[in-house]
Amino acid sequence: MTGTPAAQQPMLDVRELVRHYAQAGQAAVKAVDGVSFQIARGETLALVGESGCGKSTLARMIMALDKPTSGSVLLEGVDLSALSRNRLNRLRKKFQIIFQDPYSSLNPRMTVHETLAEPLVLHQIVPASEIPARVSRLLSCVGLTSAQAQRYPHEFSGGQRQRVGIARALACEPELIVCDEPVSALDVSVRAQVLNLLQDLQEEFGFSYLFISHDLSVVRHISHRVAVMYLGRLVEIGATEAVFMHPKHPYTRALLSAIPIPDPNIPPSRISLRGELQSTGASLAGCSFAPRCTNADDRCTAIAPVLENAGPNSRIACHHWRNLAAFDRGISQEQREPPAYVAAILARMSQEAAKTP
């Protein structure tokens, strides 16, 4: 799915990104501690991990809203932190963000039209005379009507607001969209609609997505590759199906085993982690997951594992991944179908598509 020629520049190249927050009298909080990955054009990379593992900090640095302590973010080969403020602001139309909370991501004192026209004017996407037409096109893109353009955000439901937020991100014709948990604040039925919308838009316009989520079923549905983050570091990155079917890192296994399997014939095989989530302030010499890992030994607590290649398109940060017993969630092919609510909507959509030639 990702198949890009090696010569082609990645859309986004994150190199050894570090963000430490200094604390008076205490060790610095290592929110992001040396994260590297790339996203190809038209690819969706999902970033998963529990709360507080540094996902949102990473997103803020990629959006150049927060300065990294060290490391760099390259957008089409351009280092964002090396740009002047003016040049950065001009480049910002190429990468946009969709927020988690649709209730706080829209200015309550601006109509939808104002919100959507703003990026068009700022980046001179279309001439002034075409702005109303473009705004209604953006609205129809996300399934809203142009009659709703003169309303204020509080007149919309959560799902509709999130659509407006997506339309705003689309307005400046970006190439990369960072989705910071875009559906976790929405209820299940709306969630599927928004996810499908994001996928359709990707097919139409060829966006790259960095899709931050903690909802693994959503991730499996939408992403091409998955990166698993634990306490500021990537522990595993690989093609979605490979990671979901054969997770290699102990943390990924524990995370995936928490997804309930809707089949009474399969005995629950939940891996319980011992201990508590570490504080990011504690500086560990070894693997940050070692205190909670059942396979940890002296080497794990002494030396931090680095991401190493573990097959095509797969990288693991673990000393023992070769020696771990094979992990199979025992999910047959049928059960890997999208969740029922998604399937129902997909079926309805294909029916409607069939009706209209």
Partner: protein, 291 residues
């Protein structure tokens, strides 16, 4: 498409204003007060048309005349018509209150919003505000009058300076709740410049609470201004100013009480009206109730 959206938009945007108006109409006391205030302002503006008396012409034969048919509010110890003087006094008092609030409001809002938005400037700006706040307005007025001499502009300046810190605090606290919202992050992610973000995002969302506070503050400013001129820091004696008039009538409190009581009553009514309206404005414009 566009025409359709405009057509649909018209009744919608028109609906927001009547919503505030509807609330006002429900609040009967506020409505009465608003009508009274409008009447008083109109009376102050058209004072020369309402009374044939010159507020500055003395008439030694008609000194200390009690309220009656000819002189509705009576005359003072130099025989000047008190109705004319009160009307002109209200004019001066309201104008100086408004000007000082306007100046103080603009400076205070700018300081408060900048303190909230530029985290580095926060401490410097707000500690400076605390310093100003530690001087009572009366003391400030005395100092300014000492430097530039008593006069209406000294009072306005003292009132404006004493208005800046509280407005800066209100502006800062309401701006702080805005700067952490995702829509501000979105604005920065779009590449908008700071002036646009401050104006279109921060200020637009803070404006209601600042306006409500300014309305509440108006009554206090009038009262303070009157106190300052009562102490002799305002316009010098021949001028028709409410505080100065009270101060002059004080000596005659037992022989001709109306000379002091009439301007007192005028101050009382104006401050009462402005306070009630300030409370009403808070209820009407509270964004939480609106949503």
């Amino acid at each position: 498409m566009t025409q359709q959206s405009v057509a649909v938009a018209a009744p919608r945007s028109a609906r927001t204003t009547p919503r505030a108006l509807q609330r006002l109409l429900k609040d009967k006391i506020a409505l009465v007060m608003l009508i009274l205030l409008v009447l008083i302002i109109l009376g102050a503006i058209f004072a020369p048309l309402l009374t044939s008396f010159d507020p500055y012409r003395t008439s030694l034969r008609n000194r200390n005349v009690p309220p009656g048919a000819l002189h509705l509010f009576g005359t003072d110890e130099q025989g000047r018509d008190l109705l004319a003087r009160v009307l002109f006094g209200i004019r001066l008092t309201l104008a100086s209150g408004f000007i000082s609030l306007f100046l103080g409001g603009i400076v205070g809002t700018a300081i408060g919003v900048c303190a909230a938005y530029y985290k580095r400037a926060d401490n410097i700006l707000m500690r400076a505000m605390d310093t100003v706040l530690s001087f009572p307005a009366i003391l400030l007025g005395l100092a300014i009058a000492g430097i530039s001499g008593p006069g209406t502009w000294s009072v306005i300046l003292a009132l404006a300076i004493s208005t800046v810190p509280p407005i800066a605090r209100v502006a800062r606290s309401s701006a702080l709740s805005v700067v952490n919202q995702d829509y501000l992050v979105a604005a920065r992610a779009l590449g908008l410049g700071d002036p646009t973000i401050l104006r279109r995002y921060v200020l637009r969302n803070c404006a209601p609470s600042i306006l409500v506070y300014v309305t509440l503050r108006f009554g206090q400013v009038i009262l303070l201004g009157a106190s300052l001129s009562f102490l002799g820091l305002g316009a010098p004696p021949p001028a028709a100013e409410l505080g100065t008039m009270v101060s002059q009538g004080r000596a005659l409190l037992f022989t001709a009480p109306h000379v002091a009581l009439v301007p007192c009553f005028a101050i009382f009514i104006i401050v009462l009206i402005l306070n009630v309206l300030g409370d009403a404005a808070r209820d009407i414009f509270d964004p939480k109730i609106q949503q």
